[in-house]
Subunit: 264 residues, 2 copies
């Protein structure tokens, strides 16, 4: 099924995914609705991970945490099932990628705690609406990401560097880009850093650690936002016996409106 | 020692408290610095309580959660000791008030997790600065508080009604009061409700559940904010074997500036 044939309301999209009729990426689907990063961990690690997110709200903005063993996001997306409603999942065992699957019924346990974290799609839509073009949207590439020299604030077994996404912004639009994204603290919020990539430990702006490189045009400055890859990278480092995430780009489409995430 | 003789910087105030030279209320001390509500619970309850706070950010705005057994708030107030730097504590055993003490060294355990939660002093200072008078400040009374018919979002063993504080605001200043307090989501943020107290289960506005009653003047409307009494009331209901809080009005004076809590 092609993206352009898909319905635009989140419930219908999740139903197609649940029935196995769509397993592609979710960027651009259900415009106006929040999409979420997924991290599932055993209960024994849940306090430390929740505390890690609380201490690092920019890379880890929590949308909802489900009670242990519960697969329904009753607060943001009642009726959905986190085990079947995401197009593609990654299963990690002891910190190693073990399998990529389209449902996780076979891996579900009563002690699993599901974390839904905000995603940059929300603030990117707001930037587009505000007339700030996004190179990776225009070119159909993945956003450029770097591991920085900025430490996250550790919590229990979790620690590690902050991962950032980078977007080239024309210098005349930097102020507007800060304003627009500041309104969405639930989706990484304001930039973490502007310009001077060396100051945050990025030696070569053309060699990203994740995603695709980005070409700069005249007058453009690199602007950096905290990235949802951070919590996954940090969680994997602790080598949990079992950890389940979405596959990159294959997000959970919630029933929450982008506007519900907007601050003032 | 009288309040007016006290130093104005938070570190010096905490030192006096630690040395047993001051055990009074903290309202008005260290102007411009954030004061915090204290809840200490055994680790076995910490995930549920952290999740409760995450799901109920208006009554339970988290400033810092300390690692189990650690008494130093390294993020907001490095160098302080949560066991000695608060003027007065309440010890609860199995949900019953057991003792009121001026330090908790004798109760400290390696499995205790400390939660510091935002306090209305921060947004009240901002209201005063914005020219919105506060009756209970003018009259030297305690703020008026009610148990509402609004449920908090439960998490694990924690659930219960939301407690609100009420301030009479002149109808010409309601919009400004919403704007000013909205900037401080870390200190309960915007009002939860304006006017029509019956709609949130308050039958008699002159009979508060906690604090002192407030007299209304012509043109004033009751405006309600989520209250930090909520997490304490909810936590006590679960009858934890041990729970430690500050005594009402005897807050933890942090090194964090009020301005650091301000959103946009």
């Amino acid at each position: 099924m092609q993206v352009q044939e898909l319905p635009t309301d989140p419930q219908a999209i999740r139903e197609l995914i649940r029935l196995g009729k769509y397993d592609g990426v979710t960027g651009g689907l259900a415009p106006g609705y929040v999409q979420a990063n997924l991290v599932i961990l055993p209960k024994s690690l849940a306090f430390d991970f929740l505390l890690f997110c609380q201490r690092n709200p920019r890379p880890c903005p929590i949308l909802e945490v489900l009670d242990a063993g519960k697969p329904e996001p009753v607060l943001t997306t009642p009726g959905a099932d986190i085990r079947t409603d995401i197009p593609k999942y990654r299963i990690f065992r002891d910190g190693e990628l073990y399998e990529e699957v389209t449902d996780i019924n076979g891996f579900w346990r009563d002690d699993l705690v599901t974390f839904l974290l905000g995603c940059s799609f929300t603030f990117e839509s707001a930037m587009i609406d505000a007339g700030i073009p996004l190179r990776h949207w225009e070119t159909g590439k993945n956003v450029t990401m770097f591991i920085t020299n900025m430490s996250t604030t550790p919590a229990g077994v979790f620690s590690g560097p902050m991962v950032v996404s980078m977007r080239p912004i024309h210098h005349q639009q930097i102020v507007r880009a800060v304003q627009v994204t500041s309104r969405f603290p639930g989706a990484h919020g304001a930039p973490i850093h502007v310009d001077n990539s060396k100051a945050i430990g990025i030696d070569n702006i053309e060699l990203p650690d994740y995603g695709d490189p980005t070409e700069f045009k005249d007058g453009e400055v690199p602007v950096f936002w905290a990235c949802g890859v951070t919590p996954q990278a940090v969680a994997i480092k602790s080598k949990p016996s079992l950890m389940i995430t979405h596959s990159p780009g294959h997000m959970f489409v919630t029933d929450m409106k982008d506007s519900a995430l907007a601050a003032l």
